[in-house]
Symmetry: D2
Subunit: 140 residues, 4 copies
């Protein structure tokens, strides 16, 4: 697979289609196979124990899988998550951004499957792993 | 299992420990086995296609499993999600609240396991299913 | 949903399409929504600690979801599992059959989603929970 | 992490603790982080459509995660699977062995978490992905 647009173009587009959350997430790189995404962590993402909340990490995995799919098929905002499994393995470090590294395992005509590893920036032991399945709408 | 506090007490406590999101979620009932929770849907929860976002439904499942566990063990804000699998099956109806019905399948010394079904209020075909595993901190 | 064939007819057919394993599994009842299936446990299904192995329980969940889907759409042997999440919660009792209770949550044109609870016969605390997604081949 | 025994020693031990299935599975290499395992496919593993069955691939993922954990902690036959999520992405090639590549993501005191990719030998598009959580018994 090859990326059909640049990371800059993707970031512009995310801000438009996800105005509620787009600014939290930045595509650092994407090449059609591996997508690296940053989540700028702030107080809204924290939960008791001063750690990043599970739903915030889920959001990062979700947006990352979406971007990894769009990177190859182009802008299809109606592509939707059909399933996800996520494991929270370590406590993220407070005050550090999260970095998600996503691998596109399958890109079929109607769905994509990705593996995602999430890290606290600068630490190479992953804080979470996830896998996502996205359903791709038929071309009209 | 039996509930060790009332739904009212739980709602008060949620507002304190999750100030960012507590007001979106209301425990309707909980008896130690089945927990019913409402998510008040507003614009922040929507995504392109005018449907409730996956992360919003994940948050509802997550809070519901947390409440279902706390209902039996009491207030343990440091109880954390260790794993979740979620399937999005139907498009939630715009303008309807979401209702999550959670069944506590196991409450061990160190973890709980729950099944969650999420509905658009008034429709009996579930929009999502999830299962959650929570890790319970040791008693000090 | 309604069942389009009887449990007896399903059992006959399972023996033909799954000659390797069909005799281990017996449909006890199926009505289009809930399917109850028995796995006759013998030594082949055990693992160290004298408990039923994880793969044996996975097989039971897999066949149960297959039957729950076929119950409604008829005999489609090429219907295939696309995803499963399974949690093993308690140790099955040695010398007891396993009983799987499967709920059909969604039957779409191209896929089915089921929840499965597995019990040691006679004990109402589930030993495992699973959810399965099956892909249904297009009608030719 | 570092492996505390050789692949040869592991293979000998698997044959003893899993006499029913040990001979189907061969550890090709293991270094404490990545474990490569072969499943010798024969007729028992097939299902309608002449493809390797889901339960057979689940078994391969399960044994691989077990071996990846044992590689680091030594022989603990009572280590048990607590959860798994698996996606079947492509049809395995008939007549080809399956190769599972397992990455140990976390090895804690009480559990391990692994990611597994399964391939038909000689084809670099994975046929399945899985993640497994194993529970490690306390040292007596």
């Amino acid at each position: 697979m090859q990326a059909v647009m640049s990371a800059e173009e993707m970031n512009d587009w995310l801000g438009k289609v996800f105005p509620q959350v787009g600014s939290d997430f930045v595509v650092e790189s994407m090449d059609g196979v591996t997508t690296v995404m940053r989540m700028k962590v702030d107080d809204r993402h924290l939960r008791p124990g001063n750690t990043v909340s599970g739903p915030s990490m889920f959001s990062l995995a979700d947006v990352s899988a979406f971007v990894a799919t769009m990177a190859c098929i182009g802008k299809e905002a109606l592509t939707v998550t059909t399933g996800c499994s996520i494991d929270f393995m370590r406590k993220p470090e407070a005050g550090k951004d999260l970095i998600a590294v996503t691998t596109l395992l399958k890109l079929g005509r109607t769905l994509s499957v990705t593996n995602i590893l999430i890290y606290s920036e600068g630490n190479d032991a992953p804080v979470a792993r996830a896998n996502m399945t996205y359903s791709i709408p038929p071309k009209s």
